[in-house]
């Protein structure tokens, strides 16, 4: 991997996060996010990976009392998306998210994908149709559902539902896509499909993925960050992290000695 071709898409600077109960879940995290690369967050349960991920689309704002300190700066516009003056809705329009368990709306397949566009005020049927098709193709779901777009999303299998959620997140042309353990509720075949899809998606956008699965991080990601107890212990190119970790803790975790 050639570092010189890497363009910075976002970076967190001295990011601290406090839950409403006062718990300091993130401790001064500095981490870059390179454009059109996949960055994986690994670490034992409760280490703050998901908390960190959810800072990127200001998901924590939904619950009162949570507090950010520090910055997440997005490039090229240099916007600090954690700034109180930046509307979380604006952030979510630029950065979309795929959740741990497939969570399609109890609506039709079509409406699930179209919802992000409808929220943006898109009413033109042609535009919606085109965008939905494009997103479903991008999520490798088009061939399976093109003739039943009006069916309820719940009638799809778990893996298809997760790809539908990816299509929903994709339809609005986000700059960054967040994945919060996207395959933890899926079987191995569906997992392989999602991983393949992620590798395809990075030609279009920047991906940050939380995973519990070491092999997954090794397979799909370009960069890996190892977190422990709210701190970023080690960050680097995935190849290096998995073959030559500089810290003992990282090595222990990766080799399964603890975690």
């Amino acid at each position: 991997m050639d570092n010189s071709t890497n363009v910075l898409k976002a970076e967190s600077r001295n990011l601290d996060f406090f839950y409403s109960n006062g718990h300091r879940a993130l401790k001064s995290i500095n981490m870059p996010l390179y454009e059109k690369k996949i960055t994986a967050l690994i670490g034992p349960s409760g280490c703050g990976k998901s908390t960190f991920l959810r800072c990127f689309n200001r998901m924590h704002d939904l619950y009162p009392g949570n507090k950010y300190q520090g910055q997440i700066v997005m490039h090229p516009d240099n916007t600090n998306i954690l700034d109180a003056g930046v509307d979380p809705i604006e952030v979510r329009m630029r950065i979309s998210m795929v959740f741990q368990k497939p969570n399609p709306f109890p609506k039709s397949i079509y409406e699930n994908v179209a919802y992000g566009l409808r929220v943006r005020g898109e009413k033109n049927k042609r535009t919606l149709d085109d965008k939905v098709e494009e997103a479903l193709k991008g999520a490798a779901l088009w061939n399976e559902v093109k003739d039943r777009q009006q069916d309820l999303a719940f009638n799809l299998s778990g893996g298809q539902q997760q790809r539908l959620c990816i299509a929903r997140a994709l339809a609005t042309d986000p700059e960054i896509m967040l994945f919060d353990e996207p395959t933890s509720a899926l079987d191995p075949i569906a997992t392989a499909n999602i991983e393949e899809l992620m590798s395809e998606l990075k030609s279009k956008l920047t991906i940050l993925v939380v995973t519990h699965n070491m092999q997954q991080a090794a397979r799909v990601s370009d960069y890996t960050a190892y977190m422990y107890l709210g701190e970023l212990m080690e960050y680097g190119e995935t190849n290096n992290i998995f073959t030559r970790p500089t810290r003992k803790e990282t090595e222990d975790y990766i080799t399964g000695k603890f975690g």
């Binding site: 939904l62 979510r92 979309s96 969570n103 109890p106 992000g116 719940f154 997140a169 609005t172």
Partner: protein, 315 residues
């Protein structure tokens, strides 16, 4: 030698285990029987009551009974003014309680800050559902009849019953909103929806079934309420119909019916029941049976609707 001993001890153990299981199963059966008896006492009492009403009221189940005004002669007295009154009162109740209840429930659940004040409101709303209905009647007498000078009218009765079922609608709205998984909400916010978009496109849509059930159960409670209606002074003998809400000339609707005097089914029943002449008791029995059937139908509809709506939603 040791082997046989071990076998023997396994066997005694097994007999003990089997005896124990038998004992436990006997307790199972005893409890099931007690439960069944408890259930039957409730059900059979109601069923007996219903059959008794139907048997007594049977001679009056005909079109005339529904199309006649009350009369001094029991045989030609009918329910016309009562069922029309009930429908009009329920219409007012529906129009006022449903939007207010859903609005209040949505606000409390989605918008209100969670603090001691909202806790206080929560406790009070639940409490209101348990306040005796006659208290609502007294409140309405003071507020609607005298305070706002609405008179002893359909409007007053509808508003009173509206207040009465408001807590039921609020509580069922909140409960069905709470049943929506956090993941669905977050999914909507994550694509950039505002709070109002989440409420209108998701929260309201997915909680429809539960809200509707609450509304219908509230309405079926309202239809049988007697005490508050008597308190506000409903007339018991009404031989006229309120002015029609729809007219033949423009603007085709009028609201005079709102200020009209009225009676409702349970009051008509109460009136007939309080007469010494046994012939009127037949009318009362028939009315009682009709109220029960209407209530059952409404609750049945609620269950059916909930099933229909829930069928498309799985989580």
């Amino acid at each position: 030698m040791a082997n046989t001993q071990m076998q023997a001890s396994v066997l005694t153990n097994l007999t003990e285990v089997r005896a124990m299981i038998k004992r436990h199963k006997r307790n199972d059966i005893i409890f099931a029987v007690i439960g069944l008896i408890a259930l039957m006492i409730g059900l059979l009492t109601l069923l007996t009551l219903f059959i008794d009403l139907v048997r007594n009221g049977y001679p009056r189940f005909n079109a005339e009974f529904f199309m006649n005004f009350p009369s001094r002669r029991a045989g030609s007295a009918g329910l016309l003014s009562a069922w029309v009154g009930s429908i009009l009162v329920l219409l007012v109740t529906f129009i006022t309680a449903v939007p207010m209840g859903i609005g209040a429930g949505l606000y409390l659940e989605e918008y209100a800050a969670k603090n001691w004040f909202s806790d206080l409101i929560e406790i009070n709303v639940s409490n209101l559902a348990g306040v005796p209905s006659i208290i609502y009647g007294l409140l309405a007498l003071g507020l609607f009849v005298y305070g706002l000078d609405l008179g002893q009218s359909i409007l007053t009765a509808g508003l009173t019953l509206g207040l009465l079922i408001l807590p039921i609608v609020i509580v069922s709205t909140r409960e069905s909103i709470r049943a929506i998984p956090v993941a669905i909400r977050e999914a909507a916010y994550a694509v950039g929806a505002t709070k109002w978009q989440v409420v209108k496109d998701h929260v309201v849509k997915y909680s429809q079934g539960g809200i509707l059930t609450g509304v219908i159960i509230g309405m079926s409670r309202a239809i049988g309420e007697t005490a508050p209606i008597i308190t506000i002074g409903a007339l018991t003998f009404i031989a006229f119909l309120p002015p029609s809400p729809v007219t033949e000339v423009a603007p085709y609707i009028n609201f005079e019916w709102l200020s009209s005097g009225f009676t409702v089914l349970p009051i008509q029943m109460f009136n007939w029941l309080s007469r010494p002449d046994h012939a009127f008791h037949i009318n009362a029995a028939a009315t009682g049976a009709i109220i029960i059937v209407v209530t059952l139908l409404m609750n049945g509809t609620a269950i059916w609707l909930r099933y229909r709506i829930r069928k498309n939603i799985k989580w």
